[in-house]
Amino acid sequence: MGVVVAAYGVSHTAMIIRKFRPEDAVHRTVHEAFAKLRAEVASLSPDVIVVVSSEHLNSFRFDCFPQMCVGIGNTCTGLGDGGVAAAKIPLASDFAGMLLEEGVGAGFDLAFSVDPQLDHAFMTPLTLLRPEMDLPVVPVWQNASTEPLPPLWRAAQLGRLLAAVIAQRPKDERVLLVGAGGLSHWVGTPQMGAINVHFDTTFLNAVRGGDLETIVAMKSDDIRDEAGNGAPEIRNWLTVMAAHPGRGEVLTYEPMREWATGIAVARLGSEGNP
């Protein structure tokens, strides 16, 4: 049986890296939170990092656009978009293959992408949490941008599938889970730069309480209308919360208008975290 050594929820905008100004105290606060988790990852020495994030029409096109997809094969290629450095990263092929097979076997129609390309949705958190890019990764995409979107309960089911797969993994395999995206933000629209602090606060209170039900009850349309067309990415946090339930701990939240996003860094299910 594998073990979840830690689970995190983080924003993934490339602006965290591209627009970082060390002289800005708020910028530093965000980066210090990431640094805390980066040190934690180094000390935990996970064998696998599962990153649940979103597609931005960089990895896939309209000729075939998955609602949920798992990367398989041997290598991930970071595209180098948005000012985040390109990189080659090992892919945890055995874990990824099991996730795909177990998922499909359980009636979970996952798509797959062989030796996938990753944009900043994955590369921003990986750069900030493990810049060495030496730990094998399993990328998992969820559609959060292109309607129709799956209901949030499906994101929670994906998390439970992840937990079931981890339970079948070899003894003591150490798994780090990362849910990346959100919080409130408007992307590529005239509202870009707006942030809904009330929405973000409500969501993060649910994270703190480990309150899956509140998040699952949200409707994608309502999330989009209240918190922007980028906010449905909170489903990636939900998946990880469902995989590793329990109260969360928010290390930082900043409504970063110049990064066009409510930025948060959190431990999810932190009762089981270090």
Binding site: H56, L57, N58, R61, F62, D81, G82, S145, T146, E147, V187, G188, T189, P190, Q191, M192, G193, A194, I195, N196, V197, H198, E226, N229, P255, R257, E258, A260
Partner: protein
């Protein structure tokens, strides 16, 4: 969703030489892409507001802004770092 416009944006972003060709011969490129000339013009001029109003995918609009070196927040009218908070 405006599939024709999104397809145009993807061609401009991914097809080598298509942006330059569209600038040189916009009418021919619009016909080739099956979109109104006004869509093509909005795209090559980086008129993000027009593209949004015509139903362009927000993420493709963002990618186009990046390719053209446009600050999307500035172009949409929200001064960088000064967006409203609902």
């Amino acid at each position: 969703m405006n599939v024709e416009l999104d397809t145009l944006l993807q061609r401009l972003l991914r097809e080598a030489g298509f942006l330059e060709k569209s600038r040189a011969r916009p009418q021919a490129s619009a016909e080739l892409a099956g979109v109104p000339l006004s869509d093509l013009t909005a795209a090559i001029e980086g008129d993000l507001v027009a593209l949004h109003e015509r139903g362009g995918h927000p993420l493709l609009i963002m990618q186009l802004a990046g390719a053209l070196g446009i600050d999307p927040m500035g172009r949409f009218g929200a001064p960088s770092g000064e967006g409203p908070t609902p």
